[in-house]
């Protein structure tokens, strides 16, 4: 189980990665995250939507209202150019963080 404190700084990165693949909406993104992590990380609804709100306030994503196949109205999100740049920065930051932390991690039994 992943601690929400640890992953908090990277929810932005995860969601921007998902939007890099194309415009999408809340449930689809949440489902993809769960699938791609084999269920190791399930993002809470409030985390998902507060991340969207924060990213939007910072101009990293934009939203528009769209209709899905079953006719329900949904809010779709789209990554902006600033968002793409921010994503690159976050990726570089993670590589550095990972290298630093790895120096202090002993191998664990699987």
């Amino acid at each position: 189980m992943i601690s929400s404190d640890i992953i908090r700084g990277y929810n932005d990165t995860i969601i921007l990665y998902m939007l890099k693949q194309g415009d999408s909406y809340g449930y689809e993104i949440s489902k993809q995250i769960e699938k791609q992590t084999n269920g190791d990380y399930v993002m809470k609804e409030t985390t998902l939507y507060s991340t969207f709100a924060r990213l939007q306030k910072n101009g990293y994503i934009s939203s528009y209202s769209g209709t899905e196949t079953n006719g329900r109205k949904r809010t779709y999100y789209k990554m902006t150019a600033e968002g793409s740049q921010y994503y690159q920065e976050k990726c570089r930051e993670w590589v550095l963080t990972k290298n630093v932390i790895n120096r202090f991690i002993q191998e664990v039994d699987q």
């Binding site: 949440s30 809470k44 609804e45 409030t46 939507y49 507060s50 709100a53």
Partner: protein, 251 residues
């Protein structure tokens, strides 16, 4: 599906209803309903599906932090500079000392002219002052996160009470005018002796004193009220700043 709708409604109870928050609420409900439908569709029993979906809701305060800290604070933005000044314990102590001095001054001055209404005003001013001091940041046991938290807090009740007292002081002050100044004008017009019910005054001397003292009292009352607002604004402002500091540390 009504069960999920009710669940979301309960979670969003006491949550400020803005256009943005209502959209998010609708989106969250839609997400939860989709997930629920998927689970039930793949053979999960209804109750189990509801449990999984509701556990995935999260913490409403997380949304509150993002939606309302940055939105509600701009109301206080202009006061920020002053508010930070009063955050420092040294400055706050100085302020309390200053206010105490002023209150004593009003008290002495009020009794000096022997007007019972001025004395009542002074007493209310003192009570108000005590509450202002009580509301000093160091007395906040649970600092409010944002305006919504603040309104539902004990501090807000205190602030409300202080404001009501101020209003009362102002009403007493207005009554003072009605009882003293208007009869004075009336008596001048009719060339009769001015009587305040209790005292017979030496008119010109007394009239000037009343006006000056009242103006001073009203000025101080507004000053104290203004400072109280600054303290509150500073307290509210301090929270988001702290929150973003933490965030930077994590990132």
């Amino acid at each position: 599906m009504n069960r999920l709708k009710d669940y979301v409604e309960v979670q969003f109870q006491n949550f400020p209803a803005t256009e943005e928050s209502l959209t998010i609420k609708a989106n969250i409900l839609a997400s939860m309903e989709d997930k629920y439908a998927d689970l039930v569709g793949s053979g999960t029993p209804d109750d189990k599906a509801f449990e999984i979906v509701s556990n995935q809701f999260g913490d409403i305060d997380e949304l509150r932090d993002v939606l309302f800290t940055s939105n509600t604070v701009p109301v206080y933005e202009k006061l920020k500079g002053y508010a930070i000044f009063f955050q420092k314990p040294y400055h706050s102590r100085l302020l309390i000392l200053f206010s105490a001095f002023l209150s004593v001054f009003i008290l002495i001055a009020g009794f000096h002219v022997e007007i019972w209404l001025l004395a009542i005003m002074t007493i209310f001013t003192l009570i108000f002052f005590v509450f202002t001091v009580l509301m000093h940041p160091s007395h906040f046991d649970d600092p409010p996160k944002d305006l919504h938290h603040y309104i539902s807090s004990r501090q807000f009740t205190l602030a409300l009470f202080s404001s009501l007292l101020t209003a009362l002081v102002l009403i007493v002050s207005i009554l003072n005018h009605l009882f003293i100044i208007f009869p004075w004008i009336y008596s001048r017009a009719l060339q009769t002796v001015f009587i305040d019910g209790i005292y017979l005054y030496n008119l010109p001397y007394h009239f000037r004193d009343v006006i000056v003292l009242e103006l001073i009292s009203i000025f101080f009352i507004f000053l104290i009220l203004f400072i109280t607002m600054l303290i509150i604004a500073g307290r509210i402002h301090n929270q988001p700043a702290k929150a973003s500091d933490n965030e930077n540390e994590i990132e």
